[in-house]
Amino acid sequence: MNKVRIIARIDINNDSVVKGKCLEGLRKIGRPNEMSKKYYEQGIDEIIFLDAVASLYDRNSLINILKQAAKESFVPITIGGGIKTIKDIKNALSAGADKVAINTQAIKNLDFIKEAVKSFGSQAIVGSIVARRHRYRWEAFIDNAKHRSNKDAIEWAMELEKAGVGEIMITSIDNDGRQKGFDIELINSVTNAVNVPVIASGGAGNSNDIVELCKDTNCDAVAIASILHYEIENIKDIKHRMDINHIGVRL
């Protein structure tokens, strides 16, 4: 049985963990390394750090957070937000990241993804799609959900797969931070369109939302933030709830 990975998504602004609603109105809620360490000790399967202000400010603090996390959390670590060059990826990987998540730069230049895959392998490159719903379709957004890309999110997922990404992370802008469940239709549209593993993100408010997502979609991993950051449920409880609902999970 395949096990659905539970990923702690930690959005960072400078040296603080932030969380908002629909990727807006970001509030400071903690310190990145304290939180990542706590989640590791609770049994998280993976950690994703996302620079919410995408490198507009000081990059070094993010690299230091990553270095520290890699010293104390022995699970895969992904970093994203503002990655623009091959050198950015190299720096992230040598600081302890296993993968980088790329959104904006992929949309600006898909060849960058191809080059990154060639240099570091598919397993290191996660295509990140941040999508907003327009009736029955979704549009990919860039610059931390601030700007439109005019690209259909589902077609974009297929292009990213073709360019060689090893995984796709799909974040629903509409559901992010609202704690009312995932955009199941969006996740299904992506998993049906591609054959690489899909990480679902945006909307989890409790373990029932995760169980529902796993039952209704073919997603491979779930990125959660609010549940953990606001201590609604801990990782052990979430995994237990998944297990008793017959969803494969690492216990």
Partner: protein, 215 residues
């Protein structure tokens, strides 16, 4: 006791260094230098990404010959992920690419008609083979232990006898770890597999220690 992590420009050697740093009484060196590799008590061969590029990087540094010399002394080695695959004779990546050839067999892509997604990414338990009951690498590892995998290629050893575990993905039981003499290797990433993975690294250090005492 010196453990060398072979740093040949491929993969996240820092993660392995960090994980090994949990254990006392060992010196860990990240290097591609001949003298340090030959003087090591134990070697870890890491690797992620493409087989051909990894072989190019190894060749550039004359590492195939240096590693061969190290192996000849029957000293412990642990290959991880692509580092396991490189030990074999060849890979079918890009048609045909020669490997280190320390272990008979080849590396092939998961079948094209596989129903599961690729790459195979995620946590899996192991189906231990009879041979693994004697291997110290899995000492203390319960059957429900989980390890993190990420790969699209699998090893097909020439001899079934060296397979210490298999792992199921999408109906296929692939070889997930091997042992041939003091050469150990695993398809998963022990350095990224939380406590279950750290236990594997701890066992490897024990293997190195035991071997060291005998010399």
């Amino acid at each position: 006791m010196n453990i060398v992590v072979v740093d040949y420009g491929i993969g996240n050697v820092q993660s392995i260094f960090n994980a090994l740093s949990q254990f006392k009484d060992i010196n860990i060196t990240l290097t591609d230098k001949k003298s340090e590799i030959l003087n090591a008590d134990g070697i870890i061969l890491p690797g992620v990404g493409a087989f051909r590029r990894a072989m190019e990087e190894l060749n550039k540094r004359n590492l195939p010959n240096i590693l061969k010399k190290y192996i000849r002394e029957d000293k412990p080695l642990l290959g991880i992920c692509l580092g396991m695959q490189l030990l074999f004779e060849s890979s079918e990546e890009f048609g045909h690419t020669e490997g280190l050839g320390f272990i008979k067999g080849k590396v092939v892509h998961f079948p094209n008609n596989l129903s599961g997604k690729l790459p195979h990414v995620g946590w899996k338990s192991l189906i231990k083979q009879e041979e693994s009951l004697n291997t110290t690498l899995f000492k203390g590892a319960k059957n429900d232990c989980n390890y993190y995998f990420v790969h699209s290629y699998i090893c097909i050893p020439g001899s079934q006898d060296i397979i210490t575990s298999k792992t199921e993905y999408s109906g296929i039981n692939f070889c997930s770890s091997i042992q041939q003499g003091n050469m150990h290797a695993c398809q998963f990433h022990p350095e990224k597999s939380a406590n279950d993975g750290l236990n594997i690294l701890k066992n490897f250090i024990e293997i190195v220690k035991t071997k060291n005492l005998k010399r």
